[in-house]
Amino acid sequence: MADAAAVSARANRRKSRSRLWNKILRQPVGIAALVGILLLIALVTFGPELYPHSAHRTAPLATLKPPSAEHWLGTDELGRDVFARVMAGGRVSLAVGLVSMLVGLTIGSLAGGAAGYFGGLTESIIMRLVDVFMAIPAFFLILVIVTSFGNHPLMVILTVGFSFWPQMARPVYAEFKKFRNSEFVEASHALGGGHLRVMLKHIFPQVLPQAIVLATLGVGWAILSEAGLSYLGLGIQPPLASWGNMLQNAQAYLWLNPVLAIYPGLFIAVTVLLFNVLGNALRDVLDPRG
C-alpha cells in the first residue's frame, strides 16, 4: 500500500518534471540566451589566462592602436590591450552583477517575507520603509551610500544590491501574506513546525518561481547600475577594469578614437540583453501569471 503510493507519487513527480522540460524546450531563444551567458562566463573566466596580453601592462609607444592580429581590439590611451581589459572588466562586472543580485534578493526576501508572514506592526514598519525607498530614485540612493561608505568593490556590490531590495520585497510580501493563513501552513504549525521552518520549507517554495525570474532580470539591472556608477567615476576604481570605468576613459578620447567607446558598451548591452531574454523566457515557463 505504502509502496504503491510512493511509486505513484514518484510517477507524478516524473510526469510534472517532463512537463516542465517540454515547456523549457519550447523556449529556444531562452536556451540560446542561457548558452550565451555560460559562454560569456567562460570567456571572462578562462580568457585572461589564455590570451597573451595583460590587462594592465602599459605601452607608451603603442597607444590608441587599431585592432590587429596582435591586439584583437587594439590598444587604449595607455597602450593597454583593449580585449584583455574587456575580459578583465567582464570578470568584475559579471561578479558585481551576480553577487549584488543575491544581496538584493536576500534582503528583499527576508524583509518581504517577515512583513507578509507576521503582519501587524512588523508589516506596517517594513512596508512603509519599502514605500520610502521606492520614492528615492535608485541612483540617488546609490550615490548617497557610496559617498558615505566609500567605493571599495565590496561596497559597490552591497550598495547596488541594497538599492533594489524594495522591488524584491514587494512580490515576496504579497505571496507570504496570501499563504499566511492557508491550510498547509496551519497543518505544519499543528505538526510542531516553527516559524522559520514554515517560512523556508513551506511558503518560500511558492515564491521561488517568481523570485527566480526577478533575480534573473535583476542581474541585468545590477550590471547596468554598476556600469553607470563606474562610468561616473564613483564605482569600481581604476586600475581595476570594469566595463563602466572603461567607458569613462573612452569618452575623453571620443574625437580621437571613438571605437574605444564601442566595445565595453557592446559587451554590457549584450550581457544585459542575454539576462533579460533569459528572464522573460523563465517567466513564460515558471510564472503563468506574469
Binding site: A135, I136, L143, V144, L232, L234, A250, L254, G265, V270
Partner: protein, 315 residues
C-alpha cells in the same frame, strides 16, 4: 475628493520626512562621517573651528532636529564646498533637469503608447515581435553608452547636433537651439524608458480587446482602427497612466547619468559633484527634493486616474 487629496498630501509629507531621516542617518552612519571632508592639513584647532561652524560638533540626532527645523522653514543649510545656500543651488539646477525630464517623458509617452498599440493590434504577428525586440534592446542597452554612441554618430561624424550642454553659451533664449541641444539626451532617455510603457499599453489593450463590448463593436462592422482608438483606448488608459507615475523614479535616476554624458548642469550633475566632493548638505537636499518630485508626480497620477476613469471615485 478634497479629503482624499489632503490625506494623500499628508502621507506624502510623511514619506518625505522618512526619506530625509533615512538619508541623514545613512550619511552619518558612515565611518568618519561628514567631518572627514575637512582638510587633512589643517590643525586640530582649525578643524574644531570648522566643525563648530557647520554645527558638526553636536551629536547626530541633535543635528537632524536642527536640519529639520530649518527645512520646515525652507532652509536646507549651506553647501560646504560652495558656501551657497542649498536651496539656491537646487533652484538653479532644477529647471534644467525638469526640462530634460519633461521632453523625455513626452517622447516616452508618445512613442511608448503608439508602439504598444501597434503591438496589441498585431498580436503575435511580425509587428508585435519587432516591437518586443526593440523594447528588449531598450531595456538592455546602457543609456549612457547609447548617449556616447549618439554623440559619435550625430555630433562627431555627421555634425548635425551639438555634443554637449543645454544651450549655446552666450546666446539668449532660442527655442530651436534649446530643442537641438535636448534632442539627443531626451531621445536616449526616452528609448530606455519606453519598454515599460510599451509593455503596459500592449497588455492593457489586449485585455480590453478581449472584452464583450469590443466583440459587439466588431459584430456591428466597425473598422479595427475605430475600435482601438475610439472604444478600447480610453479603457486601457488607467494602467498606462499608472506606469507613467512609476517610471518617474527611473527617469530621474537615468537623468543623473545622462546629464553627465551630455554636460547638462542639472540636479543629477549637482548630486554627482556633491557625492565626489562629499558635500553632505547638498546630497541630502537633492535627495529630499527628488523624493518630493516623485511623491508629487505619483499624487498627480492618482488624481488623473479619476479623470481617466469616472468609475474611480475617491471618498
Amino acid at each position: 475628493m478634497t479629503y482624499y487629496t489632503l490625506n494623500r498630501l499628508l502621507q506624502g509629507v510623511l514619506v518625505l520626512f522618512l526619506i530625509s531621516l533615512v538619508t541623514f542617518f545613512l550619511i552619518n552612519l558612515a565611518p568618519g562621517g561628514p567631518s572627514s571632508l575637512i582638510n587633512m592639513e589643517s590643525t586640530a584647532a582649525e578643524r574644531e573651528a570648522r566643525m563648530r561652524q557647520y554645527g558638526l560638533d553636536a551629536p547626530a540626532p541633535v543635528r537632524y532636529v536642527r536640519w529639520l527645523a530649518g527645512a520646515v522653514q525652507g532652509d536646507l543649510g549651506n553647501s560646504i564646498n560652495q558656501g551657497l545656500p542649498v536651496t539656491r543651488l537646487l533652484s538653479q539646477r532644477m529647471g534644467v533637469t525638469l526640462q530634460l525630464a519633461g521632453y523625455a517623458m513626452l517622447l516616452t509617452t508618445l512613442f511608448g503608447v503608439f508602439l504598444g498599440v501597434v503591438a496589441a493590434m498585431n498580436h503575435n504577428r511580425w509587428p508585435d515581435h519587432v516591437v518586443s525586440f526593440v523594447s528588449t534592446i531598450g531595456m538592455s542597452v546602457p543609456n549612457f553608452w547609447l548617449g556616447i554612441v549618439m554623440i559619435i554618430l550625430f555630433a562627431v561624424t555627421l555634425g548635425w547636433l551639438p555634443a554637449a550642454g543645454s544651450s549655446t553659451l552666450g546666446r539668449g533664449f532660442d527655442i530651436v537651439d534649446r530643442l537641438r541641444h535636448a534632442a539627443l539626451p531626451a531621445g536616449v532617455l526616452a528609448f530606455s524608458l519606453m519598454p515599460n510603457v510599451v509593455r503596459v499599453t500592449r497588455s492593457a489593450l489586449l485585455e480590453v480587446l478581449a472584452s464583450d463590448f469590443v466583440r459587439t463593436a466588431r459584430a456591428k462592422g466597425l473598422h479595427q482602427r475605430a475600435i482601438v482608438w475610439k472604444h478600447t483606448f480610453k479603457n486601457a488608459l488607467v494602467p498606462v497612466i499608472s506606469i507613467l507615475g512609476l517610471i518617474t523614479t527611473v527617469l530621474l535616476s537615468g537623468s543623473v547619468v545622462i546629464e553627465s554624458v551630455f554636460g547638462w548642469a542639472g540636479l543629477g550633475r549637482l548630486a554627482i559633484d556633491a557625492a565626489s566632493g562629499r558635500d553632505y548638505p547638498v546630497i541630502l537636499g537633492v535627495t529630499v527634493l527628488v523624493g518630493a518630485l516623485t511623491v508629487l508626480v505619483n499624487l498627480l497620477v492618482d488624481l488623473l486616474y479619476a479623470a481617466a476613469d469616472p468609475r474611480i471615485r475617491y471618498g
